[in-house]
């Protein structure tokens, strides 16, 4: 059994807790007792924050739409398609014809990299996320 520190994926309070991991699965949570934010407490969402990651509805493979339907694809196929279509649009209609929505749910590093890709590789500043909503 392992205790892995993490941060609640729900609201902006940023409560921290440990995920209890057994045989490669999360089996429970344990709030961090000394953390100044939550001092050993969690709300109902925090206590139950790991269940959805084990949902059978998780996406497990890249999907490409073919003739209106999703078909499973390899990473290479999916990423090549993303690159060729986005660069194609940029070359034909300019960088401002592309948009990039960051996420208030993913990490800082990931948001940084995403905005770097938009601005440096595509030269588009159409970068935003729904926090303004």
């Amino acid at each position: 059994m392992a205790r892995i520190p993490t941060i609640c994926p729900f609201c902006g309070c940023g409560c921290s807790f440990y995920l209890i991991v057994k045989d490669g699965r999360v089996t429970g949570v344990e709030p961090s007792p000394d953390n100044p934010v939550n001092k050993g407490m969690l709300c109902a969402k925090g206590w139950n924050s790991y269940e959805f990651i084990q949902s059978p509805e998780r996406l497990t493979t890249p999907l490409i739409r073919k003739n209106g339907e999703f078909a499973e694809a390899s990473w290479d196929e999916a990423l090549d398609l993303v690159v060729s279509r986005l660069t194609g649009i940029r070359d034909a209609s300019g960088p401002e014809s592309l948009g990039f929505l960051c996420s208030a749910k993913v990490s800082n590093e990931e948001n940084y990299l995403f905005m770097k890709m938009a601005r440096a590789a595509f030269k588009s500043n159409n970068v935003d996320h729904c926090a303004r909503l």
Binding site: V37, R85, N108, N111, S124
Partner: protein, 528 residues
């Protein structure tokens, strides 16, 4: 937030406006309740009878969309009664005379007409706030999601400066951030006009710095479009390709019919997420991402605290961490991108972002996170902002006139519909609705309606009603309750069965382009 969560424990007074704190930020809500129980005062401004109302010293129910008039009225009383902090105003601020002249027009009588709040109550609120030693203003989306969102925020800042309730422990203006990394997404340049740490894309020296660091030339110096702008551009056909990472605008954004049309009009849509969301279902390519527990990374909470989460388990199937997916794309795009782990990315952020300069994995692994600004390796982080001076030297008062909401109820659309969250669900429901306990506690959407209105319309609890705005309609079960005042309806945006954002208004604040999700005009009838 200008201040920190722990400072709630020492405050004498909370001025809570536009935040249903116990539902959206439960652990901050409980701090407020604990503080009230030890004797702190709570002034609550909310048209609804939210759970915090039971603990409020004073609960004022302003008419929807009248916050600027309300707060101007409070400032006027504070100035008239000579209760403002003169030494503070003199030493640390500028523009007081303009503020004074403008708010003088917001007499208690005028304010009562606009907001519905009685003068005697406005007086009590003004005096209590001004006389408190340590008073914290707390707000959330109830302040920002209005066509006057920017004015609302400026007006609250005026109030805090006028009374010197800023730049000290347990004071300040404290927006509560809704999602776990809203703060971080903004800090990391997830906004049209800025790189990390709010460094502007149109500042030549900044552009040069990023070009050098990234090994590229020709960065675009023109700020880009906001989400609202992008949706409009997609609708018109000028935006042709969109890449959405971990967002679900086809549930969360206003006027969904417009959003749906905009997304369908794109030549190419990529969605990267952990579930096949409503938005992903429209995509041309869907990329499966890892969830929070399946990767390492940092998140910045509402008090600017950056904390490190470790990887606990592997992602399902072929799903990959978002950073791995983007790294693979960047390589294909010919960018130098040799990150072996997220720590490598953080090093790059440290080097390019003064406020994150000292926030390293090494330091984050041992303590309880670091609050930015934290410019170097030995800096302890910053508990509260504006201690000795504001970022720009003196704090300027920015007086704002009251402007009405975009839609005011009329004869046909005679109710105001307002939206929010509930304790047991979260955002568009993709995560919380897949948790049994949460789903058991709050399994279905309900529309709150006042008993008097319900009686007139022949509506009883659990009746199915149809609610319609100028943009769309939905069917939903009614809950007859005094939680909402007359002529106001409330529901949440968590449930795809009743998509309230079919009805909401995409009219925006002209500066921040935040849409008025907090209110639109609707009509309601019972379905036979």
């Amino acid at each position: 937030m200008t201040n920190s969560i722990n400072e709630f424990d020492e405050a004498d007074l909370f001025f809570v406006i536009g935040s249903n704190t116990t539902a959206q930020h439960p652990l901050i809500g409980s701090r407020i309740i604990n503080a009230v129980e030890r004797g702190a005062k709570l002034i609550l401004f909310d048209p609804r009878e939210i759970p915090l109302a039971q603990f409020a010293t004073l609960h004022l129910k302003q008419t929807f969309g009248t916050d600027v008039a309300l707060v101007n009225g409070i400032m006027n009383i504070i100035i008239q009664e000579d209760l403002y902090d003169k030494p503070y105003v003199q030493a640390r601020t500028e523009g007081f005379e303009e503020l004074k002249t403008m708010v003088a027009r917001y007499t208690p009588k005028v304010v009562e007409q606009i907001t519905g709040i009685r003068s005697s109550e406005l007086y009590r609120a003004a005096v209590m706030y001004a006389q408190a030693d340590k008073a914290m203003i707390v707000y959330a989306m109830g302040i920002t999601q209005h066509v006057t969102g920017t004015d609302n925020v400026k007006t609250l800042a005026n109030l805090a400066m006028l009374t010197g309730h800023v730049g000290r422990p347990s004071t300040g203006v404290n927006p509560l951030r809704g999602q776990n990394n809203v703060q971080g997404a903004c800090d990391m340049g997830g906004l049209p006009g800025v790189f990390t740490g709010y460094q502007r894309v149109n500042d030549p020296a900044t552009v040069k710095k990023f070009e050098d660091a990234w090994g590229v030339s020709g960065l675009n110096p023109k700020p880009g479009l906001t989400i609202t702008g992008m949706m409009n551009a997609a609708h018109q056909g000028t935006l042709k390709g969109l890449y959405i990472m971990g967002e679900n605008p086809l549930m969360s954004d206003p006027d969904l019919t417009h959003v749906e049309h905009a997304l369908s009009n794109l030549d190419f849509l990529v969605v990267q997420d952990i579930f096949l969301t409503e938005t992903a279902a429209l995509a041309d390519v869907v990329l499966p991402a890892a969830a929070f527990a399946e990767k390492q990374g940092t998140y910045s909470n509402t008090e600017r605290r950056v904390q490190l989460a470790q990887c606990a388990v592997s992602p399902p199937g072929q799903a990959k961490a978002d950073w791995e997916i983007i790294t693979a794309l960047c390589r294909r795009l010919g960018m130098k991108c040799d990150y072996a782990c997220t720590e490598d990315i953080m090093r790059e952020i440290n080097a390019l972002t003064p406020s994150y300069g000292g926030i390293t994995y090494e330091r984050l692994s041992s303590g309880y996170g670091l609050q930015w600004p934290c410019p170097n390796d030995t800096h302890p982080g910053t508990v509260f902002l504006h201690r000795d001076q504001f970022t720009k030297g003196k704090g300027s008062f920015l007086p704002c006139e009251f402007k009405p909401a975009a839609e005011i109820p009329d004869d046909e659309y005679d109710f105001t519909l307002t939206t929010g969250r509930i304790y047991y669900q979260y955002h568009t429901g993709t995560m919380s609705r897949r948790v049994d306990l949460l789903e058991r506690e709050a399994p279905e959407p309900l529309l709150e309606i006042n008993p008097e209105d319900a009686k007139k319309l022949g509506i009883r609890s659990n009746d199915v009603v149809e609610v319609e705005s100028r943009r769309g309609s939905m069917r939903i079960k009614a809950e007859v309750t005094t939680r909402v005042p007359k002529r106001v309806l409330f529901t949440t945006f968590h449930f795809k069965e009743s998509q309230v954002n079919r009805l909401t208004n995409s009219a925006c604040d002209p500066v921040a382009e935040i849409p008025e999700l907090k209110g639109c005009s609707v009509k309601i009838r019972r379905c036979s």
